[in-house]
């Protein structure tokens, strides 16, 4: 894992050499991958701004913040389970991240059929996630939660909820479309000559969506 550099040069020397070199600083990283990472970096800032906005709103409100554990509870077979819907959504998204990692692995083994199938399975889990989110939204709207107010407490709760989960859900939906398109191109054999790095790049986007959910889950649902 840590064998970055040949034994004689240190990490710092490698870093300086890379950044001081002609043409490109990112050796061994294709443009496609570098650009995806830079896009994800910009997306990190967007989601961070949302979450910092949420922090400010929650710190400044003089009213009680709704108890998310209860707001997102479900009664399943007569049992009242707190936050269960969100827990299931989290597990679905993690499962999809796992199948995506498998797809990347198959891609690099040139098993294009398995890679495409695993990508479609990932997209299926993504759809499942968006479906549950739609259920969650309609449930809350039915209970009277609006971007400008709600019956449980601080009115900003609705604004933050719809904005943050909406933006994340939009990312998941785009990811599903992206996955399906790339999966079909992989299946058709479009990448036989160029190699299957495209699966890894698509995977980066998908793992990022899961990564953002980790933060939303912690700060919005659990805090």
């Amino acid at each position: 894992m840590g064998n970055f550099a040949p034994a004689k040069t240190t990490r710092t020397e490698v870093l300086i050499e890379d950044w001081a070199s002609d043409k490109d600083a990112f050796k061994n990283v294709s443009w496609g991958k570098a650009m995806m990472w830079i896009f994800l970096l910009s997306d990190t800032f967007i989601f961070s701004c949302f979450l910092v906005g949420y922090m400010s709103v929650r710190m400044t409100t003089a009213e009680i913040w709704p108890n998310s554990s209860e707001v997102f509870a479900l009664t399943i077979m007569g049992e009242h389970i707190p936050l269960i819907l969100i827990a299931i959504m989290t597990f679905v998204l993690i499962t999809s991240s796992g199948t995506m990692a498998m797809a990347v692995n198959c891609g690099y083994r040139n098993q294009r059929k398995q890679a495409a199938i695993l990508m479609l399975v990932t997209a299926g889990f993504g759809l499942c996630f968006v479906g549950m989110q739609a259920f969650e939204w309609s449930k809350l709207i039915e209970e009277g939660v609006r971007p400008w107010g709600n019956p449980m407490g601080a009115p900003q709760f609705g604004a933050i909820f719809f904005m943050v989960t909406g933006f994340h859900g939009f990312h998941v939906s785009i990811g599903v479309i992206y996955l399906i398109i790339v999966a079909f191109k992989v299946l058709r054999g479009d990448y036989e000559e160029r190699g299957y790095e495209i699966v890894e790049i698509t995977g980066l986007y998908w793992h990022f969506v899961d990564l953002v959910w980790v933060f939303i889950f912690a700060f919005f649902y659990l805090w």
């Binding site: 990283v29 796992g98 995977g203 889950f217 912690a218």
Partner: protein, 109 residues
Amino acid sequence: MENGSDIQGQQQHPISLYFKVWGLLFVLSGLSYAVDYMQVQGELRWTLIIIFMFLKAGLIVAVFMHMVWERIAFVLAILLPPLCILVLIALMSIEADYTYFNRLFFFND
């Protein structure tokens, strides 16, 4: 090559590693859900949530997104800029205290 991937910069790693990380992510998610389920409150709750969150995020970025195998120049270019957000968090929380006290002072009946 030198960073454990081949000439084209491909990321090929044993599948067992992915399975281990996958399992670990499940366990960590289960633990963070348990924090809520057991109704752990106060500072212990926030500490546990933050720890599990960073462990999960770290595993995803390091293994699933292959950051541990990338060259250091690239890793730093991607992972250092988000640290600016810490400044934003600090500024906004200072401002939030001031707003909150003003609201208590002027809007409370």
